[in-house]
């Protein structure tokens, strides 16, 4: 394990994504989505490392968003990562929230749902309440978090309850409201991670650095190397001539 700083992680992830040469997805946004999740101790780096191989292969195509009913949008990400599309889909969703008190966004055929965290936290900072819920094929099988407006971190709930339909394993449901969203009954979930716990982890990470697996760090660093150009005498001159020291 090794300690890295917030800025260091943001910069490296930004470079790693840039190295993929994708046209969909914004390196600075993605870097912050990963780092925000890592800062609260929810394994943002590990999720990103897993995503890297798939991000390389994804097709750069726009997502389809459909107004299924008033107050309900369905987005089809065609098997892509939410990293590359969530900001644009959320922009569109917020547009549709104008004049309403709430809206639900169902994102289907998507990956890396944990990494939505940072973007949803931003909505709470804008005065909106957010609830995100999804199912996994592995533990924890059901995740929900609620961020009421103004909250810096969510209340996170997890359980081993399996999805009722296989399609749910690649879907993410996000409810956005101008009103507070009630927290679920604690009995519905096996584990509750409080916003205070997340905030404490975050504060520790700022003060003492973020602990990351060195192997993960090296994998991201290797991906970031894709932006670099081999050096030559000509390229060395491209930085400005080096002159003798005074």
């Amino acid at each position: 394990m090794m300690q890295v700083s917030h800025n260091e992680l943001v910069v490296l992830i930004g470079k790693a994504f840039t190295g993929l040469r994708r046209s969909c997805g914004e390196a600075d946004m993605i870097a912050n989505m990963v780092t925000d999740l890592e800062m609260v101790g929810l394994n943002g780096v590990e999720h990103f490392v897993k995503a890297l191989a798939f991000l390389q292969q994804e097709r750069d195509c726009p997502v389809d968003v459909e107004a299924t009913s008033p107050g309900l949008l369905t987005a089809n990400l065609h098997g892509c990562s939410i990293l590359c599309h969530l900001p644009t889909v959320l922009d569109f969703t917020l547009e549709k929230l104008i004049g309403r008190s709430s809206i639900t966004l169902n994102i289907q055929h998507c990956h890396n749902r944990w990494l939505a965290f940072g973007e949803l936290v931003k909505l709470a900072a804008k005065g909106l309440s957010v609830k995100a819920t999804w199912h996994n094929g592995h533990e924890p099988k059901h995740i929900m978090y609620v961020l009421n407006k103004g909250c810096i971190n969510p209340e996170l709930f997890v359980s081993a309850q399996s999805a009722t339909q296989p399609a749910c394993l690649h879907s993410l449901k996000i409810e956005i409201s101008t009103q507070p969203i009630p927290l679920p009954e604690a009995s519905e979930f096996e584990h509750h991670i409080s916003s205070q716990t997340l905030a404490n982890t975050q504060a520790q990470a700022w003060q003492h650095g973020i602990t990351v697996d060195e192997t993960h760090w090296q994998q991201i660093k290797q991906a970031a190397g894709a932006i670099l150009v081999e050096s030559s005498d000509t390229s060395r001159r491209g930085a400005g001539e080096s002159e003798p020291s005074l």
Binding site: N7, E26, T88, I227, L228, T234, L246
Partner: protein, 558 residues
């Protein structure tokens, strides 16, 4: 703001070095030599302690022997004469050992969040050797040798904000010593200046024994810390546009806060010696760059004219704004010098702007924006980009990339050099141009969110253009792909905001400057004025030993 004006900026009293020294003086910060463990040849470890009202810090300096041919200012260097770190709190043996193993490695080392600043410096061999030799023989140095360089040590990188494991700037937000942008870095450089003086005194003593003398204090004050800055600073500015906007907006607000004041005879009497001092400073600047020499020469002659018009302006009860407008017929260098001098007159109105230099860096969109709204922003705030003819090869001549050599930013000629496929996204003008073309194909009443859903590749530049389009100063108006682009302008802007003086371009992508030249020494820190440093007329130890008496007489705000 136009690149040419950015490329003519000078230090002002809200530049970061000035803010730092004011804070050090106002809060009575104390520095002292804490440990001096150097060999007779000057190699080893030195530690300085800094005590502020709420905290204490240590500057840990490592001096290593390197061969002359290993001394390189570029980021690709792997050895330096001096490496150093500014550490928050105490340095015990374990931490010192850790620093000793990592700080000399710089980018190749790892540090902890106790380290606020990580940096390195090379010596000016000419000045260093001359000083040690002269002082060891009991003689003061040839001041012209000092004037031609202006420093003993030249930093080649000063890292903050989380680089290589050190503390993020974010955690300094509640630290009242270093919560302003770059203040920790500036402080580390200021303390390094004291080390550089102690270092040559130590070596002169080692060589000359009882015969050795100390450098005259006026000459000590005259020596700052050099800095060699290359292309790397340009991508920083382009990638942090809101920082640039904030710095320049606050500067403009400071100017606006005083420019409607009436020119008084007293104001003329205060600004005149400052302008004269600027002339003398420019005459003393030694630069190998013929263009910069010509600019300095022209500014000197223009400033003399500017001075001659001042008393008439006062008699006519003109405002400083009118005076600044009249100055627009002169070169940017002259205009910027006049601004720097004017800001000195009103510290009570100006100095508070130093506290609002930190920027919110977010680039955001908000609901309700239509395609037409963004088109309007582009038409009004990005006309400079929309008017570029990108079908002309000279407008896309360069591409920027990072080299495998320690990720050094470089420029390559498009179509001739390898690396275009890994081009850095610094082509803001071109991206804006493309965005505008794409928007033109959309119904103007449709929402931007709908457009970006279909064409997500434009979201990044749309965020930037929308945000900067609503910022007071806006985006940097430079097409960095253009054959005629001068990255030097960007370097100069940032260095001036830091408070650099003595701009000495070494090429169109490389500049040497000096920090803290003329600043008070660590045992006499005071809120004095040291705009446009001058070579002391003599070596006697008085504060009023400059060629021109520039003792600040703040203008009566009434």
């Amino acid at each position: 703001m136009s690149p040419d004006r950015l490329g003519a900026m000078h230090q002002t009293r809200i530049s970061f070095v000035r803010s730092l020294i004011r804070r050090m003086a106002n809060q009575n910060w104390q520095t002292s030599q804490y440990r001096w463990d150097l060999s007779e040849h000057g190699f080893g470890t030195a530690i300085y302690r800094l005590t502020t009202p709420e905290h204490h810090y240590h500057l840990v300096v490592f001096s290593d022997e390197i061969a002359d041919d290993e001394r390189n200012d570029r980021v690709i260097a792997e050895k330096w004469d001096i490496t150093f770190a500014l550490v928050h709190g105490d340095v015990d043996d374990a931490l010192l050992a850790q620093l000793q193993s990592n700080v000399p490695l710089q980018e190749a080392g790892r540090n902890t969040s106790k380290v606020l600043v990580l940096a390195r410096a090379n010596k000016s061999v000419r000045v260093f050797d001359h000083l040690v030799e002269a002082l060891s023989q009991g003689q003061q140095p040839d001041s012209q040798v000092l004037a031609s360089v202006g420093y003993i040590l030249r930093t080649t990188a000063v890292y903050g904000n989380g680089k290589f494991g050190i503390a993020d700037f974010e955690i300094l937000q509640d630290n009242h010593d270093f919560n302003l942008s770059f203040s920790a870095q500036m402080c580390a450089v200021y303390m390094l200046r004291q080390f550089s003086l102690d270092w040559i005194h130590f070596l002169a003593q080692q060589q000359g024994g009882e015969q050795a003398i100390q450098l005259a204090r006026p000459l000590q004050r005259y020596l700052g810390v050099g800095n060699a800055t290359g292309l790397g600073m340009a991508p920083y500015l382009i990638n942090h546009p809101r920082i640039v906007d904030q710095w320049l907006s606050e500067r403009e607000k400071a100017i606006a806060a005083i420019s409607n004041k009436t020119i008084t005879p007293s104001g003329c009497d205060t600004i005149t010696p400052l302008l004269q001092r600027a002339c003398l400073h420019l005459q003393q600047v030694v630069t190998i760059d013929a263009h910069q020499r010509a600019l300095n020469h022209r500014a000197v002659s223009e400033i003399e004219t500017v001075i001659s018009t001042l008393h008439d302006a006062a008699k006519q009860h003109q405002s400083w704004l009118q005076w600044l407008e009249q100055n627009q017929s002169y070169s940017y260098e002259t205009q910027e010098i006049a601004l720097s001098c004017l800001l000195e007159l009103y510290p009570d109105d100006v100095d508070s702007f130093e506290n609002t230099m930190n920027a919110d860096e977010n680039l955001t969109l908000s609901p309700g924006i239509t395609v037409c709204d963004l088109q309007d922003v582009l038409a009004t705030r990005y006309r400079w980009a929309l008017d570029i003819d990108f079908s002309q090869p000279e407008n896309t001549y360069w591409f920027w990339y990072r080299s495998e050599d320690k990720e050094e930013p470089r420029m390559g000629v498009r179509g001739q050099e390898p690396g275009e496929d890994r081009e850095l996204g610094l082509d803001i003008a071109y991206q804006v141009y493309q965005l505008n073309l794409a928007l033109a194909k959309e119904p103007s009443h449709s929402t931007l969110a709908e457009f970006l859903l279909k064409q997500p590749q434009f979201r990044s530049v749309a965020r930037r253009a929308w945000t900067l389009g609503h910022c007071p100063m806006g985006d940097i108006q430079m097409n960095v792909l253009s054959q005629s682009a001068l990255p030097m302008h960007l370097l100069r802007c940032k260095l001036a905001m830091f408070g650099a003086t003595k701009f000495d371009p070494r090429s169109d992508r490389w500049v040497r400057v000096t920090f803290f030249q003329g600043a008070p020494l660590t045992d006499e820190i005071h809120d004095g004025e040291w705009l446009f440093p001058l070579l002391p007329a003599d070596h006697t130890d008085t504060h009023a030993n400059n060629c021109v008496d520039t003792t600040s007489q703040p203008e009566d705000n009434a």
